[in-house]
Amino acid sequence: MKIYGVALLSFCFLLGKLLGTLLGKIIDVNGDVGGVGFAMLLLILINAWVNKKGGLEIETKEGILFWSGMYIPIIIAMAATQNVKAALSGGPVAIVAGSVVTLSAFYIVPLLSRIGRGQTKTDKDE
């Protein structure tokens, strides 16, 4: 049933958020620290573990995949509900940060590509 998937997703979400909040308490930050990341990690691990035993049922998977598909629409709704007027009065920081980060990362690509180049090729030959 689809609800099993949604329930599993909720379980990972809540447990992840709990871990994040506890971590926040430990490092003295008010709020949840990395909760979403923990929840994702949890889902990946549970999924991998279940896959070894034959995998989740299709219906269960669909319950999760539906929410994964709603990700972009939610991001758009989120963008439409931000305080953009105030953000714009903050000046060019978004444009500067976004461009500098991306262009500078381009320049690291050829440097990092040197690592393990032969290895990937042999992987492909297999």
Binding site: A94, A97, S104, P110, S113
Partner: protein, 250 residues
């Protein structure tokens, strides 16, 4: 009639927001495909359109208009985080293995680099408190990592909007810049595409940029890029924020 209609919509705000966002996406993807020939991804266009629509309101963007109040819940942090977690379903541990060591290294360097450079940019443009800096730095990773970090650290909607915008700029620069700089990056083999995906990370920008360079490279870049946002959501509001506070206080 119009009063009946507006009452109906206000009562069913969330459902109306589904319809409304659906229309935004349909229009954006049409424009991206026909007018822009996929040069700018439909997703980036839709986010830009969303940010533009937010100008119709004030603090809560378009949700300040009662007709669109459902947008606040649809785009609120609960459903957003829920959907972000759901995307991990597509992550396959075997795929991580096939990306190999270089994929993992480039992912970590990519997230760290974007965060650090983003923070430095924001610092020089006058932001000094660690939570705002971390949010903008996280936004320079992707337009998801920014808001996730921002709401975890409790910053204002203004800073979150900046972080989304930074992520969108990144997507566009990646899309337009990748084919132009592909030769310099020696971006002509799967190995380089895996590194590229891990370093840039913004999935729509990586896939669109690679598609414009050489469509055969898209799956390799997407392979690492799909893990980027998750890693960013894990590291930015926790370890990186923690380190940032130490650096700023020290």
């Amino acid at each position: 009639m119009s009063e009946i209609l507006s009452q109906l919509i206000e009562k069913n705000g969330l459902l109306f927001s589904f319809l409304f966002v659906g229309i935004i996406m349909w229009v954006s993807f049409k424009i991206s495909k026909t007018l822009l020939k996929n040069k700018i991804p439909g997703v980036a266009l839709a986010v830009i359109l969303g940010l533009t629509l937010a100008f119709l309101g004030d603090k809560k963007g378009i949700a300040d208009l009662s007709l669109f109040s459902g947008m606040a819940f649809f785009g609120g942090s609960m459903l957003r985080d829920f959907a972000v977690v759901a995307t991990a379903m597509g992550a396959d541990i075997n795929k991580i293995r096939s990306a190999g060591l270089v994929g993992v290294i480039s992912l970590f360097i990519g997230v760290f680099w974007s965060f650090t450079i983003g923070v430095i940019c924001a610092y020089f443009l006058g932001y000094t408190d660690p939570a705002s800096l971390a949010t903008i730095g996280a936004g320079a990773c992707t337009y998801i990592v920014g808001p996730v970090t921002g709401s975890a650290l409790g910053v204002s909607s203004e800073i979150i909007a900046i972080s989304i915008a930074a992520g969108v700029v990144k997507t566009i620069v990646a899309t337009v810049g990748t084919p132009l700089l592909a030769n310099y990056m020696k971006l002509n083999n799967p190995h380089a595409a895996i590194v590229f995906g891990g370093l840039i990370g913004t999935t729509s920008g990586v896939t669109a940029g690679l598609a414009a360079t050489d469509p055969k490279l898209v799956p390799y870049g997407a392979l690492t890029a799909t893990f980027y946002t998750g890693l960013g959501c894990l590291l930015c509001p926790s370890l990186f924020y923690y380190l940032l506070r130490i650096v700023l206080n020290g």
